[in-house]
Amino acid sequence: MIKPLSKIVAMNIQSTIILVGILFLAPLHADVLNIQIGLITQEEGRHIPLSLLQPEIEDIGESGSEQGIKDNNTTGQFTDQSFTLTVKKVKPDEPIKQAFKELHDQGIRLFLLNLPAEKILRVVDHPVAKSSLLFNIGATDDNLRLTDCRANLLHTIPSRAMMADALAQYLAWKRWNEWFLVVGRHPQDRAFAASLKRAAKRFGHKIVEQKAWNFEPGARRTDSGHTREQQVVNEFSQVGDYDILIVADEADEFGEFLPYRTYLPRPVGGTQGLSAVAWSGVHEQWGATQFQRRFNQQYGRRMTDRDFSAWLAVRSIEEAASRTASGEIEKLKSYIISSKFNLAAFKGRPVSFRDWNHQLRQPLLITSAKLVISVSPQKGFLHQFTTLDTLGYDRPESRCKK
């Protein structure tokens, strides 16, 4: 299966580098298996972060996929496999099925999807998609893991339920049991609030106060922003006592305004402040430092959740391809969702896919803006099979079956 490298590696290091470069560029000798991966990503328009420290990121998911392809090809030179990425960007009003068909017609059968949930379903339910394997790298919607599962769809991005559970477990460890829930004006904020309520119930918390934040966001860069926010948040947060304010603001419109401005001196968590995430630029444990450095040097910014989810999907494909020595979709899929599959993901324990809803199970980071505060699952939350399944919808709770 594995060919001696001596055939292809030259005597000294300079020529090795050139050779490796050529390998990456594609034209390969006959017995190299080429595996094509397509990324369909929806352009989300310009997103200006509230903080000047945060960069504007335009290539969400794309850089992570590229990093994965690069890692795959370093391995591929030893296994005679090569991986290529084709990126298709779509506008929000563009017909999604056509974009999918276009890549499908090029012979691509492995896809990463950075799309809203309903568009993912439209792609996956396309009649020709049956012979493809698709990875959701961007949609956190619980329904995709609970009711709307598909045989050919896998999720490397965690669900809202997983993130809410991860945070709730940490807060249970802290015994910060009384929450003040603040919900933004978008449907996805309400969806995350629903996941938070479920998590509160599961881990013994109580939502003692709840308010909706309905202010229009306005311009993000202003000269005298703080005077207004100081006043508004102070008034808004005059409620009964609580342990922690939990905010659901996925669009990042106001959550950053809350810390240090609440009426009572209380911490803030949720989508901002203390957050549960799959990845963060602050993570450096379990070998993550080298991984982060590689990414930062190449792309000049920190890796995001979606980059990491894209990397996980690309690496999952390679892991299955090298273990099965095959690029056939059926073989890859059955290996990926089997109990044999596991992947190292800089999280201190192997990650793998749940066979009932094809969600990647993984530890989640509990972070502040600058450091990793903890990693969930927390000690003491036990499970019959793996404690990773204490995060999100477990087998008996999901209507999706193997």
Partner: protein, 333 residues
């Protein structure tokens, strides 16, 4: 006179008692004198432990993030991968002073000494290279491109092979040290860490931290002879993460550190069966034998100590407090 006699008796008793005490001490302690060196990743220190009293004699400050350490052939020098300082530091063990540094390429994590003691081989996690360093000339000789995040380094006793593991590529690369070329690549389980040759050179054992297995590879054919799996009642499989490996000189017994499982597995090398799991400190990573192989010392990253395993009785005898995040360990005869 009376006083003198009673004094003499007292002195006799005292001397007798001391002799018994010394004898007992000699019986219970290892006879040969040796020193244990432990790198502490977080404290930027090398702890010096006396093999006889098992007490920490000294702590030496070195560069940022010391991890892999190796002893020179004559035992007078310690080579230290100071990962965040991006070089290798050379510690004179007589004076306990860093005399100079060696180039290593970025982020050196682990190193091994070549068979003649002339070269050092360092794994550079950041740029997928193994760097070959000439110790006397203090210069880089060459680099070898390997898989993603190279880590483990094992040299065959005959000096023919260097086996390097790459953590994200999941392979053991067999590098021919005469030609400096990779001759073969063996796919092992997820996140391979340590590569350790048996003393006769016939096998190389590779631990897979995330895969939870040890692959025993036949050096001649480069085929995996067996994969050793671990099972500990009450501990989830995901937390059994093999890293450090030591095989006894007679080739009969192997010790494998199991990371967060806080156990060292004792393996019969003929049957590959696990004879015993020994409870040690938390997140046990690397191991070293005493020169007489009567003891195995372990570095326990989370509990910040070194466990002392009595090889004859297969029992953990003692733990020694060292710096924070103890990582590498060597024993100087």
């Amino acid at each position: 006179m009376v006083l003198n006699r009673s004094l003499k008796r007292n002195v006799d008793t005292l001397l007798h008692g001391m002799a018994v005490f010394v004898l007992l001490t000699l019986l219970s302690m290892p006879v040969t004198a040796y020193t244990i060196y432990v790198s502490s990743e977080k404290d930027n220190k090398i702890s010096v432990i006396d093999g006889k009293s098992l007490k920490v004699l000294d702590e030496v400050s070195v560069g940022e993030r010391p991890r892999g350490i190796a002893l020179s052939k004559d035992g007078n020098t310690l080579y230290i991968c100071t990962s965040d300082a991006d070089h290798i530091e050379v510690l004179d063990l007589q004076t306990l002073k860093v005399s100079h540094t060696l180039p290593s390429g970025p982020d050196p994590e682990l190193l091994v000494l070549g068979p003649q003691g002339k070269y050092l081989y360092a794994a550079n996690e950041d740029d997928n290279m193994v760097t070959l360093v000439d110790i006397d000339k203090r210069s880089k000789v060459t680099e070898i491109q390997v898989g993603v995040e190279p880590e483990g380094m094992g040299i065959s006793p005959d000096g023919k092979w260097l086996v390097n593991t790459s953590e994200t590529t999941n392979m053991a690369h067999f590098i021919n040290l005469q030609t400096m070329k990779i001759e073969d690549n063996v796919l092992v389980d997820q996140r391979p860490r340590v590569a350790q040759f048996s003393n006769d050179g016939k096998q190389v054992w590779v631990s897979s931290e995330i895969g939870g297995t040890v692959s025993v590879i036949d050096t001649q054919s480069r085929k995996i002879l067996t994969k050793i799996n671990f099972e500990i009642p009450g501990i989830h499989k995901e937390l059994i993460q093999p890293v450090g490996i030591q095989i006894s000189a007679d080739g009969k017994q192997a010790f494998v550190a199991l990371g967060p499982a806080a156990r060292v597995a004792v393996i019969d090398t003929n049957t590959f069966e696990i004879k015993k799991y020994l409870l040690v400190g938390q997140r046990v990573w690397n191991l070293a034998f005493s020169p007489d192989e009567k003891f195995v010392f372990t570095t326990n990253g989370v509990s910040n100590d070194v466990s002392v395993i009595d090889v004859g009785r297969l029992k953990v005898k003692k733990s020694i407090r060292v710096g924070r995040l103890p990582w590498g360990i060597v024993v100087r005869p």
